[in-house]
């Protein structure tokens, strides 16, 4: 029932072909500011790496470096089956785009473009100059949209979708890319509980089935602990702690880097449950100084003192 394959080699080998992803001393500087400082890590096929850390820690920058959309020093090596490694970086061969599918935190949704047209752009890395998509590419788009519960939206303008819908549409585009590494920046931030679950389960299933490497930045540490095989905690652009979720996601480590007291409870379904319980008192924190703005939480609830006579809200 499938159409005859026009590009027989481009799909199957591309996926699962990356055995290992190795980052060595990857640093990113914007002018004088170092946003990412000598990150080294290794993940193997079939692994899920969660990148966590406070706002501004460099999570998005790390993902961009892996996707090759930001200039960096150090090396990002894709170790392929029986092939020399392929580096990434801006200007690297488009080959890297076949290996890595990247979804930014806030994908651009061009006005006037339909969902199907948008998702179809995921096939870009499989096409040469002046080549257009085949019926087979469009079939893949259709199947992916159906898998993500988006078939009804195929003909709707992508710019008019809700936040959750557009997040799933962006994921669909990444899946259609058929890369062996999925790099997702906050993939579930706009999703309700059910869709959060569904999207992560789908990603997990792809990971398991095709041996994908999944790299996500995440704010929800409970979800991170449930899915990740490896957690990298970034702080100020530096890799602070790296290891298995149970080793990284401890009350002591988290409160030290996020600046809040947390309690970490074992989750009967696997992983841990991370609950913030209050702002960490200043005097108790040896690491933090007032001069260091990065460690200041964005909201200082304890600074807001009700004035006399204010009605309780």
């Amino acid at each position: 029932m499938t159409a005859p394959t026009r590009r027989p080699t481009s799909i199957a080998p591309a996926v699962g072909a990356v055995r290992r992803l190795e980052l060595t001393d990857v640093s990113v500087r914007y002018r004088q500011v170092t946003v990412l400082d000598r990150v080294s890590l290794t993940t193997a096929a079939g692994e899920w790496l969660a990148v966590i850390g406070p706002n501004g820690a460099g999570k998005s920058t790390l993902l961009k470096a892996i996707a090759g959309v930001v200039d960096h020093s150090g090396t990002v090596d894709f170790r392929l089956d029986g092939e020399p490694s392929v580096g990434s970086g801006r200007g690297a061969p488009p080959r890297a785009a076949r290996l890595v599918a990247y979804v930014p935190q806030n994908p651009v949704l061009p006005p006037g473009m339909t969902t199907a047209e948008y998702v179809l752009m995921g096939r870009t890395s499989h096409l040469r100059w002046f080549q257009f998509e085949s019926g087979r590419d469009r079939d893949l788009v259709g199947r992916t949209l159906a898998d993500l519960d988006l078939a009804d939206m195929a003909a709707r303008p992508v710019a008019e979708l809700s936040g959750g819908e557009s997040q799933r549409v962006a994921l669909a585009r990444a899946i259609v890319q058929q890369a062996s590494i999925l790099v997702l920046d906050e993939p579930t931030s706009a999703l309700d509980l059910a869709h959060q679950m569904a999207v992560l389960e789908l990603v997990d299933e792809l990971r398991e089935r095709y041996g994908l490497i999944v790299i996500t930045s995440m704010h929800d540490l409970t979800i991170a602990s449930r899915h990740a095989d490896q957690v990298l905690l970034l702080d100020h652009g530096r890799p602070a702690v790296q290891g298995r979720p149970s080793d990284v996601l401890t009350a002591e480590i988290l409160s030290g880097h996020y600046g809040v007291e947390v309690s970490v409870l074992p989750d009967p379904n696997g992983g841990v449950i991370v609950v913030p319980i209050g702002h960490r008192s200043r005097t108790a924190d040896k690491h933090r100084t007032v001069a260091d703005p990065h460690l200041q939480p964005v909201i200082h609830l304890h600074h807001i003192e009700p004035s006399e006579g204010d009605p309780p809200s």
Binding site: P111, G142, D147, Q177, A198
Partner: protein, 388 residues
């Protein structure tokens, strides 16, 4: 890794087809009971990728009718039927007695037809150039003259007119060449400045603004020092279709055909560029190279059109937007349809330019704006909301 959500998956609001990842050649991995989703998918996808046949039909019809009308109507009226006969007669291997006198024949073949064809080519070139510039810069206000083509061509044409008037060689033949070179020179400087200073599209845009201002200043200076040529320069700025018969058509055709084909062939790239540099790079597009190629293509189209027709405003910015409002924003549709619709629009405008005022010819740029602007306003109003 454990998959603790396995039980929860059943309750997730996804259709049953969620399981088989649409991944690599998972051959026939569709689960049992997927027949119905398959049909549903086919429908959804077919609907989303539909070709706008109606828009194509209307545009092509307008172009064909416009061309016929353009060669029929004029100071000496040739009958519609006679014109059709005369045109068919011109085809190799066809002999039809059209009833045209030999004078009428030569009006048809040496005057009306080349002018109509030239109008179509200029319209197609300007509209495609505008569409490509709007796509490259992700800016709805972009037009073919964005990077200084107009200013450069204006300076070139002005210099040619001045030296021609002063030294007595027929100025007109020098004007197209000077305009073409001036236009390309301006874009070239803007490109070197823009691409050299940073990779972003914005710096190229700003370089274009700077270069255009400089060239316009030079042109104004030259005009001010040679006030006897003001009328001639002014007429050139307002735009008019050339009067050199087939030679202009011959000059313009290769640019329109080659650049047009490249522009249509890169329409997919233009779509991807709408995602911004980061995402386009991540999808495997070499943004810098693609942008450079597209800028060269669009500038060549604009410079070639300007060199034979002067500065015809409005076509390059409005036609692509009209297409967008009617059929959607994908450049696979916008670029080729802009070519056809732009050609039709300019051919029709030229009929107006030649015939609206008896005894004189209106500048075609006046006609395009006078009739195009209200038309576009109506379109904008009736389609409001479809433009996010």
């Amino acid at each position: 890794m454990t998959s603790p959500g396995a039980s929860a998956r059943a309750s997730a609001p996804l259709p049953s087809a969620v399981s088989p990842a649409p991944m690599p050649d998972a051959p026939e991995a569709a689960p049992a009971g997927s027949i119905e989703p398959q049909a549903e998918i086919q429908r959804a996808v077919a609907g989303a990728f539909r070709v706008p046949r109606m828009a194509w039909l209307v545009s092509l019809l307008c172009l064909a009718l416009g061309l016929l009308l353009s060669v029929s109507v004029g100071s000496s009226d040739l009958g519609f039927g006679q014109v059709v006969g005369g045109l068919l007669d011109g085809l190799p291997g066809v002999r039809i007695d059209s009833g045209l006198t030999s004078t009428q024949e030569s009006i048809l073949w040496q005057w009306r037809l080349p002018r109509a064809v030239l109008g179509a080519l200029v319209g197609a070139a300007l509209a495609m150039s505008g569409a490509v510039f709007q796509g490259v810069f992700r800016n709805p206000l972009a037009d073919p003259y964005l990077l200084g083509v107009a200013a450069g061509a204006g300076l070139g044409a002005t210099l040619a007119i001045v030296t021609g008037a002063r030294y007595g060689w027929g100025p007109f033949h020098a004007v197209p060449a000077a305009a073409f070179l001036g236009g390309l020179l301006a874009v070239g400087i803007a490109a070197v400045l823009g691409f050299g200073s940073s990779r972003s599209a914005a710096s190229l845009l700003l370089a274009g603004v700077a270069v255009a201002s400089f060239f316009t200043a030079c042109q104004t200076y030259v005009m001010q020092r040679n006030s006897e040529i003001l009328n001639e320069v002014y007429a050139w700025i307002l735009g008019r279709l050339g009067t050199f018969g087939w030679s202009d058509v011959g000059l313009l055709t290769p640019y329109v055909v080659v650049c047009g084909l490249v522009a249509v062939g890169l329409a997919r790239h233009l779509d991807v560029m709408q995602l911004g540099d980061d995402e386009a790079t991540a999808l495997g597009i070499n943004v810098t190279v693609v942008r450079a190629v597209l800028v060269v293509i669009a500038s060549l189209l604009a410079a070639a059109a300007v060199s034979v027709s002067g500065l015809i405003a409005f076509v390059g910015i409005i036609v692509p937007h009209a297409i967008r409002l009617v059929v959607g924003a994908s450049y696979r549709v916008v670029v080729p349809l802009s070519a056809v619709a732009g050609a039709a629009f300019l051919v029709l405008a030229d009929i107006g330019a030649r015939n609206l005022v008896t005894g004189a010819e209106l500048p075609i740029g006046v006609v395009t704006a006078f009739f195009g602007a209200p038309f576009f306003a109506v379109l904008l109003w009736t389609r409001r909301g479809s433009w996010t």
